[in-house]
């Protein structure tokens, strides 16, 4: 299985809500170590595609393969266990927990130790140390013991990524990681993403084209639930269809 060259692949994913088709035969492939961007105008089905891949939505037809393994029938938690993690466009954090607690929670869940009610949390030293390392990596160690709800918004976006990293993903799907973050800080946030180890394959949704062109090795353009084109940034930049459908609209809008 691990001889496969791709980390994630979707095959002819289809999903419709009544007359609205959010996924039309979507087949994409994410090679190992990829830094791919998923772009497209609003309502193109980008988040829906992430939801289909992660199991939040069940496809009408089609398959999702992770490391060559068919995960289409697995539930969300089992997909995470298989190595597929995501972040959310709108923060899905634990407001009353501190970052060290939140990340430790995710680490103990991954280690399969979060069901142990007979051991004190403090005795899980490995998990705490690993959580701390993630917070250091994300430059959140200074606020490790403050409730999540009082953190600055940019820090909360980082914690969003940290929770995903704590699951030790092979594939990481980032749904607009810089959404709502001031422009100056968003590049910094993306530098954290760019610094992730190569064994994590990343697919990110992003609207800011300068960030996309800077950090993506390949770009998938989604329009009305279908893949319009997939290519290197230089090709996308000059592709007339993309200009018409997406960039053009962005300029006017």
């Amino acid at each position: 299985m691990s001889t496969e060259t791709f980390a994630l692949r979707t095959e002819n994913l289809r999903k419709r809500f009544g007359s609205l088709e959010v996924a039309r035969d979507v087949s994409i492939t994410l090679p190992r170590g990829a830094r791919h961007a998923l772009i497209g105008p609003n309502g193109a089905g980008k988040t829906s595609l992430v939801n289909l891949i992660t199991g939040q939505l069940a496809p009408d037809s089609g398959r999702v393969l992770l490391d060559g393994q068919d995960i289409t029938r697995l539930d969300r938690a089992d997909r995470v266990k298989a190595g597929l993690a995501r972040t959310f466009q709108i923060n899905q954090l634990f407001p009353a927990l501190t970052p060290i607690e939140a990340i430790t929670l995710a680490v103990t869940e991954r280690m399969g130790m979060a069901g142990q009610f007979w051991r004190s949390l403090a005795s899980h030293e490995d998990a705490i140390a690993e959580a701390w390392a993630i917070l250091v990596q994300l430059r959140l160690s200074d606020v490790a013991t403050r409730p999540t709800r009082v953190l600055a918004y940019g820090q909360q976006r980082l914690l969003e990524i940290g929770l995903a990293l704590a699951t030790r993903p092979k594939v990481l799907l980032l749904d607009e990681p810089a959404a709502g973050v001031p422009k100056g800080e968003s590049a910094e946030l993306f530098s954290v993403i760019a610094a992730l180890p190569d064994d994590i394959s990343v697919l990110f949704i992003e609207h800011d084209m300068s960030l996309v062109f800077r950090f993506a090795s390949r770009i998938i353009v989604l329009v009305s639930g279908g893949v319009l084109v997939e290519a290197e940034p230089d090709v996308i930049r000059t592709d007339q269809r993309v200009r018409d459908v997406y960039l053009g609209q962005a300029h006017h809008g």
Binding site: I100, A106, A114, S120, A127, I128, W132
Partner: protein, 332 residues
């Protein structure tokens, strides 16, 4: 911040911080010293005191699911009552040993709780309230109609419990009863403390804080909820069994909706998600009921209603939460 070890002390600081969350506070120690006061100063109130300890254990069981895991309930008397009947019926079979009686009753109710948990973890919000309410009413009517077993509205009479350790018999003044219920409550608190300060407890708080995120970190949240629901049911069952053993009878109202509602009121009064909140709430509620009923036996709920509204409006985190906030402010 005011927390000196919180910042810039690295991993050790973070570890120490986590360890401190589970440490015994001076207030806890003071509380467990204060529980001896009734022995010396209010010996005529020992019966009330043991009723309070039983209510406190019951409310603790509700705090575990409501305060920590976010499972709202209006039917937890179901488990309290089943524990009460189990303990009573056990003595009818000829086995009156109290400690094993508690354990057997608790285990039986935990099993019922486990079965019920399959439904509970599938619903939320209003549906959850209605399901728990419905199950509670159902159990009560079942006990009512099975009068050959439960004694129906007459209650279960002739419960005879052997002395504890074969030595300590229940005395008229309630020394034994209060000592017994207090020790069981203490063990209950020890267990609850360990649970909430474990990785499992953290996972429960995660569920309470953001259910939607849990699958995204690979957490089987339904299984977690089933575990805590089962534990909570068992604990409520033990509380009910205690009531049977210390009063030597079971009345049908152990299963009543009133009891389910009262326990939630106690928890809200004291403050959810802080273990001692419910216990403080139980003390306030039971003492208020005792005193107010002495003044006017018919309308004492009027005052509880007023107190409840004041607490919810002025102290949204309950009385203990309010005191904790004040303490935080004073300490800075």
């Amino acid at each position: 911040m005011s927390d000196p070890s919180a910042n810039n002390t690295g991993l050790d600081g973070a570890r120490a911080w986590i360890m401190r969350q589970g440490r015994w506070s001076p207030f806890e120690v003071a509380f467990w010293l204060a529980v001896f006061i009734p022995f010396f100063f209010f010996p005529t109130y020992l019966t009330l005191a043991s009723q309070i300890a039983i209510a406190a254990l019951f409310v603790l069981s509700v705090d575990l699911i409501l305060g920590y895991a976010g499972i709202i309930t209006l039917g937890h008397a179901m488990f309290f009552g089943l524990g009460a009947y189990a303990a009573g019926l056990l003595t009818k079979t000829g086995w009156g040993e109290p400690l094993t009686g508690l354990l057997i009753s608790g285990a039986f109710v935990a099993l019922v709780g486990f079965l019920v948990s399959f439904i509970i973890v599938r619903v939320q919000h209003l549906a959850l309230l209605m399901i728990t309410l419905g199950l509670g009413l159902l159990t009560m009517e079942l006990a009512n109609s099975m009068s050959w077993l439960t004694g129906g509205t007459d209650g279960l009479q002739g419960v005879s419990v052997w002395p504890i350790f074969g030595t300590f018999d229940y005395d008229l003044w309630g020394y034994t009863a209060y000592s017994y219920t207090l020790i069981v409550l203490f063990i209950g608190v020890l267990i609850a403390r360990r649970i909430v300060n474990s990785a499992f407890g953290l996972s429960l708080r995660g569920i309470r804080e953001n259910l939607n995120r849990m699958p995204a970190i690979g957490a089987p949240h339904q299984r977690r909820l089933q575990v805590i629901y089962t534990i909570s049911a068992g604990m409520a069952g033990v509380a009910g069994a205690l009531l049977t053993q210390t009063t030597s009878q079971v009345a049908l109202d152990v299963l009543s909706f009133q009891r389910s509602a009262d326990v939630v009121v106690m928890l809200i009064l004291g403050g959810t998600g802080r273990l001692y909140g419910g216990i403080i709430g139980a003390i306030i509620f039971m003492v208020a009921r005792d005193q107010l009923a002495g003044i006017n036996p018919q309308y004492w709920y009027f005052w509880i209603g007023i107190l409840l509204m004041i607490v919810v409006l002025v102290m949204p985190k309950g009385i203990l939460g309010f005191l904790a906030q004040i303490w935080e402010r004073v300490r800075r």
